[in-house]
């Protein structure tokens, strides 16, 4: 049996009732609440539910795993910054878990998983051949413009969405530099950092607690850098880190990828909202990527 299962996917013309004019894409994306039209959804795509087989599960740091899954429907459509929701099946787990897409190829999709609780532990222990249930691609993505100069700033598992972004920037002839922060040296995924080094001019890594050549947080390292060298900034990591970055970057073009606890991941339950200058928005549907200036940081 084909292990992929594409659920009912609305084709564009099916949005209109018989005898009616086909509605435009903008109207199709109409969502009930005002101001909730996703920013970057000009790209036509469909969310699907796909069963994926685990091809590889590799430990890349003390608490980080890279899970490579075979996927056709989700991997082919995913933009950098988008995420998937994975069904985790273990004792007392019911909700799906959201993970950014770390990398894609035409036949596969990989995720970077940092073990923090029971769901991530369960995922880190999957063997090749296991089948996992994914919904995706979800949310909006980062804006990728060609021939730009960007600085990527990541903390912890924020490295996941920045990885695919850095590849897309590289492919579109853009220059990027990277700063990463981790809490301990053992948490640095060396292989992943080497990947970034191939695509970036400069990769700076810092840890909160040594031994390591640079100890401090990402804000400390940001101070070494001339921000005028960049047209764009992309940040992904714990909310605490993003909040600390805000005073330094607020006057610039910055996209931040946010995390929130999610139940549905598809914009239905209003579990994942944040306050923005344009009212309450859902991280899963209107985000996870927001413009830094749009977010009400003092309410985070």
């Amino acid at each position: 049996m084909d292990c992929r299962r594409v659920l009912y996917v609305f084709k564009r013309e099916e949005y209109s009732l018989p005898g009616e004019e086909t509605r435009s894409e903008g109207e199709v994306y109409h969502s009930l609440w005002k101001n909730s039209l996703p920013l970057h959804w000009r790209v036509s795509m469909n969310v699907v539910n796909e069963k994926c087989e685990v091809i590889r599960n590799e430990r890349v740091s003390s608490d980080g795993h890279i899970l490579v899954l075979n996927s056709r429907d989700i991997s082919r459509q995913t933009l950098p910054g988008q995420f998937v929701e994975i069904g985790c099946y273990g004792e007392d787990m019911i909700l799906r878990r959201p993970f950014s897409v770390f990398d894609v190829s035409s036949e596969s999709l990989s995720l970077f998983i940092k073990i923090v609780g029971k769901g991530t532990k369960w995922l880190s222990e999957l063997n090749s051949g296991s089948i996992v249930d994914l919904i995706g691609p979800l949310g909006n993505g980062f804006t990728v413009s060609s021939k730009s100069r960007s600085l990527l700033i990541g903390g912890g598992c924020g490295i996941a969405s920045l990885n695919l972004l850095s590849r897309k920037l590289f492919d579109s002839d853009s220059n990027s530099d990277t700063i990463f922060g981790f809490s301990k040296p053992e948490e640095i995924p060396q292989e992943v950092i080497e990947g970034f080094q191939k695509r970036a001019n400069r990769v700076l890594v810092t840890v909160d607690k040594g031994p390591y050549p640079f100890i401090g947080n990402v804000v400390d390292r940001l101070k070494e850098i001339d921000l005028e060298n960049y047209d764009r900034f992309y940040c992904c990591g714990p909310t605490r880190m993003l909040k600390a970055l805000e005073p330094f970057l607020c006057k610039r073009e910055v996209e931040v990828s946010l995390e929130a606890r999610m139940a549905c991941g598809i914009g239905v339950c209003y579990g994942c909202t944040i306050s923005t200058k344009h009212g309450s928005k859902r991280v899963c549907l209107d985000g996870p990527v927001f413009k830094m200036e749009e977010v009400e940081w003092n309410e985070m």
Partner: protein
Amino acid sequence: MDRFSKWKRLNGMKCNLRTDLGRIGILRNPIIISSGTFGLSKPYFDLLESEYVGAVVTKTITLNPKEGNAQPRILEGPSSMINSIGLENPGVLSFIEEYKDGYGKLEIPVIVSISGNSVSEFVEIADRLNDIDGAAAIELNLSCPNVDSEGLSFGSSPERIGNVVSECSKTSKYPLIAKLSPFQSIDASFARSAEMAGASAISLINTVPAMKIDINRFRSALGALSGGMSGPAIRPIALKMVYEISRDIDLPIIGMGGISNGEDAVEFIMAGATAISIGTMNMIDPSIPKSITKFFENFMQVHSLLDTAEIAQRFIQRNS
């Protein structure tokens, strides 16, 4: 007709899932999507297999826009989730404005869920909803812990429930469904009062009041102090409530609470529900309406049953 020939006859035909909800109408299928777990966002449309759904219930709409509670609003518990969304919604006027191009275009019957801070607020919303066309019914969310000027919640007594229902039914052109929760006592007086006041159906159950504490931070783990629990853990409570209330009243009952597969759905029909509704599990596995439909078809064929009412009848015969 002997059992074998009845089976043979059935084997050649599709069993009938049409569900009669009385004044609300006939649904093609007894599966409803619960309030608060049905959105109108594109990803949901991509995943929804509408041919397996009998009706959908909107998120609860209030008179004025509501921002909802502080984050975090979602927690996971044992076989359950706890939410404290706090009825975030754009208010009835925006809802009406957007209805025509949104819910109004669905080919599935739409039930509009409403809630208010006072009887007059309920009535005002119901009145405004007379402007929209083609909704199937209004569901009165009577189980939210909203308090009115007297400091009591609507659900707190059968009289108050009866009062909301009768005032709304004087105003609304739509049939009304009263949605109750398990903290409204398990005896049937609340439901009976809604029935007497003119409700056309009863929805059972809303989430169960619950909380969780983050012991390391010495505070509640939810942004709001407490929330409502849903999911498989509450199913036995819901089932018992449906069972008790269906004995006592004649109205159709929409049973919900933790339904996650076909077996659960059949249990609710046996306990006395006319239709079943799926909340939490629908957000986790959007293919649930389809798998429940398939289960019903198979179950009814194996047991030679023509429609869902026969499922309930057979249960009653064996248990009376």
